[in-house]
């Protein structure tokens, strides 16, 4: 176990934790906007942590080809970090235009 392996394992476990928290939020939260809030964490932060962990692990027997693949992986992470919040924003705008009602504390029924 080298230092890079331990760093990669820590990043992947952190990403897995955020994926787990986001999925629990998607299943348990009461209305659409709060579920969107949980899914935003899951989409941007967790995916970026896991892809960065895989890229760091891939650098281990160091060679030029491995460096190129890791560079490509960091580009995927940057793209995911830009594109997924954009998609979340588009869904939020659609929900606002379509008139999905926010959850109020006084309502008894949980949809």
């Amino acid at each position: 176990m080298t230092i890079l392996s331990i760093l990669a394992a820590i990043l992947i476990l952190l990403g897995l934790f955020f994926f787990f928290a986001g999925t629990v939020g998607i299943l348990r939260l009461p209305d659409f906007y709060t579920r969107l809030h949980a899914a935003g964490k899951c989409d941007s932060l967790a995916a970026m942590l896991m892809i960065c962990g895989i890229a760091i692990y891939n650098l281990q027997p160091f060679s030029f080809a491995a460096l190129l693949i890791s560079l490509k992986l960091f580009l995927v992470a940057a793209f995911v970090f830009i594109a997924n919040p954009t998609a979340t924003h588009a869904i939020t705008e659609a929900a606002l235009v379509l008139g999905v009602k926010p959850w109020k504390r006084t309502e008894k029924k949980r949809p």
Partner: protein, 99 residues
């Protein structure tokens, strides 16, 4: 490290099944789009893990890039479609409120 990546992949698949549950029971159409988007993001990561397990990451990175692009465009397309078909969405919501 091999079994660690295998365990991470299995955990991701379990989380994808839980997200699929939200896509199945979601009250509105937008909930289903949201569930599909989250499943697509998890698939992007899972493809990279499969690449590590097969020792062929260079090929699976390209598949992962293509899947991330496809997921983004699909979400934007579905959202725009339901923005234009406003009447379909409103009818469905009224049915759910009356039932």
């Amino acid at each position: 490290m091999h079994s660690f990546f295998l365990a991470t992949g299995i955990a991701l698949v379990v989380l994808m099944i839980l997200s699929l549950l939200r896509a199945l029971i979601g009250p509105t159409i937008l909930d289903r789009i949201l569930g599909g988007n989250v499943i697509g993001t998890k698939t992007t990561v899972l493809l990279l893990l499969i690449g590590l397990l097969y020792d062929d990451l260079g090929m699976f990175v390209d598949i992962s890039i293509a899947y991330a692009l496809l997921n983004f465009i699909a979400t934007l397309g579905a959202t725009k479609f339901f923005l234009r078909r406003l009447d379909v969405f409103m009818e469905k919501q009224e049915q759910e409120e009356s039932s």
